[in-house]
């Protein structure tokens, strides 16, 4: 008897339920990208087509800028490569993908307000500054103060992957960004960068 029921269940499984027989009581949940919550308009097809009308385009660009920064911040993504697949730029539910032209347009807009930087002239690689360099500098200073490193010496690598960095925003920071922030602080006299004995890492002497 049980086996017969199991068989029936198996048979039922092979036939998908038709749309007309099932009506959901409340709207379907928006899908996620990893653990990132997507806004509802992510499933709006025109969102993935670069709009020609000026006003509409401005709104579209604004929304994409926000989304990119949010996503990168939560996922700790520092670099976007235009020619590679980027999860945010595709939507498999509505089967749409941003064109290269569209991606470049949005990243250009981010760069224009200092939230991104091109790493190459060909615009293939883009650094995402969901914290501005100055903000990173402040985070470093707080980090140093919080851990009592005011007069210490550390390597750059230790800053970004040392035990103390765990749980902080500095953990796993992109090296390019870190160096920029450190250089900014060096200009302000808060630290000194010197080449270490080993060829592959520099040392930082804080004087915060």
């Amino acid at each position: 008897m049980a086996r017969h029921m199991a068989q029936t269940a198996d048979v039922l499984k092979t036939f998908p339920r038709s749309a007309s027989t099932v009506k959901e009581a409340r709207p379907r949940e928006m899908q996620k990208l990893g653990d990132f919550k997507l806004p509802h308009f992510f499933n709006y097809p025109p969102y993935f087509t670069l709009q020609p009308v000026r006003e509409t385009r401005e709104k579209q660009v604004q929304l994409w800028k926000e989304l990119i920064l949010d996503y990168c911040r939560t996922q700790k993504i520092f670099v976007i490569k235009l020619e590679e697949e980027f999860p945010l730029f595709s939507n498999s539910v509505i089967e749409r993908t941003l064109s290269h032209e569209a991606r470049e347009a949005f990243l250009l807009a981010l760069a224009a307000e200092g939230r991104a930087e091109w790493l190459d002239k060909g615009h293939r690689s883009c650094l995402i500054l969901w914290h501005r360099i100055q903000e990173w500098a402040d985070i470093i200073v707080n980090f140093v103060k919080d851990n009592g490193f005011e007069d210490s010496v550390m390597t750059v690598e230790e800053i970004r992957s040392g035990i103390e960095s765990r749980g902080t925003e500095l953990h796993g920071i992109d090296r390019t960004i870190l160096m920029r922030a450190l250089k900014l602080l060096e200009q302000k006299g808060k630290l000194a960068i010197f080449k270490g004995t080993s060829t592959d890492d520099e040392g930082i002497k804080f004087s915060v």
């Binding site: 959901e24 709207p27 806004p39 308009f41 097809p45 509409t56 709104k59 989304l67 749409r96």
Partner: protein
């Protein structure tokens, strides 16, 4: 005897000395010259008869001796050449050539060069001479050439140019081997001689030159024609100006007669291909006015069928097809449509941003169309899948091309957004205005966004 004939000089080799400009034409051997009347001269037997452009020469020929002299009959002395009689007798006899020569009073051959006798009138006696050709030469050919030379009267041009220099300028076909084409090209009067290969080339050249000249003359005529045409055009322009000034200066105080003739004039000008300037300034030439009104009437029915808007090209095709004959040109069509602005007709011409031109009812309002489009785009089906030009065409009852224009215009007004995908070109209702950048997860309860979300979610 031999006194009868003129004397012809002979070279040391026995060839006749040609007088200047004389050209040898034919030669026959074994020829007897016989008079019909033996009183005049004794027959000359068995000689060589040479036909030249000026004379008939008879040389006594024998292989042993070189002739020292020859007898000549100037062709000028010949009054008649008899045509050959074909008879039973002539089949068995040697061919004969008969001709008649003039005889001067002293019994001798009339010699025009010697100055004896004033004209042929004084010595009107003539003697018939027969040349019996016993040799094997081409008698008929000789006769033909004889006729030609006699008729050509080459000696007359000689006389007019005065006596020859006596240089005996050698002929290419003549005895003097050395001269060839060199010295012999120019005659004493300076005109070119038509002799040999050079002669052929010269003839060609002359032909080209004369053709060229006649062409030039013809083109002169063409130029004359063109200058006349210019005058005609200027005249037409003047009339145009007159008409132009005429209509602008007069307001309503013209009598009908004047107006009638003016319109006639315009029609006439139009028919010869001159567009009346009045078209642009005022109500336009009668032709275009009439056409414009006719078109406005005609286009009402197609407009209704097409839902209030019709492509200009479609209208053009329909109109011409209806006319059958007397088709109008695209230019005329455009002109006629542009005139509508000046009249009170219920239709108008409209140009979209994309360049597409349409005829639409004046009563047509864009707002109304947009409202219809908006409501179409808000339907659940459209919310889920968007609106394609075909969908819009079906729903609005217009042509797909027109529908696309409407959709694009609605997009430019911010009512719709485009979606380009492998599935094609579609439009969705514009949700962007409702979304707040700083609050992207928030959805208003009763806005378009929530409607859209609901519609999309229920697809399962």
């Amino acid at each position: 005897m031999s006194n009868f004939f003129s004397k012809a000089e002979v070279t040391s080799s026995g060839r006749p000395v040609f007088i200047h400009n004389e050209v040898e034409c034919h030669l026959l051997s074994g020829v007897d010259l016989e008079p019909e009347d033996h009183h005049h001269f004794t027959p000359l037997k068995s000689g060589i008869l040479i036909l030249t452009t000026h004379r008939l020469l008879w040389l006594h020929s024998s292989s042993a001796t070189t002739p020292t002299s020859a007898s000549a009959i100037p062709l000028a002395a010949i009054s008649h050449i008899f045509s050959s009689r074909k008879s039973l007798k002539s089949v068995f006899h040697s061919p004969r050539i008969r001709f008649q020569v003039l005889v001067s009073p002293d019994g001798r051959l009339f010699d025009p060069g010697s100055g004896s006798g004033s004209s042929s009138g004084s010595g009107s006696r003539s003697v018939a001479v027969t040349a019996v050709i016993r040799g094997k030469g081409d008698c008929d050919g000789f006769l033909v050439k004889f006729w030609d030379s006699w008729r050509a009267r080459a000696w007359e041009s000689n006389e007019t140019s005065g006596s020859g220099s006596g240089s005996g300028s050698g002929l290419a076909s003549g005895s003097e081997a050395g001269t060839g084409t060199g010295g012999g090209l120019y005659s004493s009067d300076g005109s070119l001689r038509m002799v040999g290969v050079a002669g052929i080339l010269r003839k060609e050249q002359q032909m080209w030159e004369s053709t060229d000249k006649s062409l030039q003359d013809a083109f002169q005529d063409l130029n004359a024609l063109m200058s006349k045409a210019k005058e005609m055009v200027m005249l037409a322009e003047k009339m145009r100006q007159k008409l132009l000034s005429g209509t602008s200066s007069q307001t309503s105080g013209t009598n009908d007669e004047d107006m009638g003739s003016k319109e006639e004039m315009q029609d006439w000008l139009l028919s010869v291909g001159i567009i009346s300037p009045v078209t642009k300034e005022s109500a336009g030439a009668l032709y275009h006015q009439q056409l414009s009104r006719q078109l406005a009437d005609f286009v009402r029915t197609p407009l209704e069928r097409a839902g209030g808007m019709i492509n200009l090209i479609d209208a053009y095709c329909l109109f011409n097809r209806a006319r059958g004959t007397e088709l109008i040109s695209p230019d005329d069509m455009l002109q006629a449509c542009s005139l509508w602005e000046k009249f009170d007709v219920p239709v108008m011409l409209r140009k979209f941003d994309s360049g597409v031109m349409v005829i639409q009812n004046k009563s047509h309002s864009d707002e109304e169309v947009f409202a219809r489009i908006k409501s179409l785009a808000a339907k659940p089906e459209a919310l889920r899948n968007g609106v394609s030009p075909t969908d819009a065409a079906m729903s609005l009852g217009i042509a797909p091309a027109m529908a696309k224009e409407h959709l694009l215009t609605a997009e430019s007004k911010g009512l719709l957004c485009r979606d380009i995908s492998p599935d094609g070109f579609r439009f969705y209702v514009n949700l962007f205005p409702e979304i707040e950048p700083l609050n992207i997860y928030f959805v208003k309860d009763y806005g378009m966004c929530s409607t859209w979300i609901k519609a999309v979610s229920t697809s399962g």
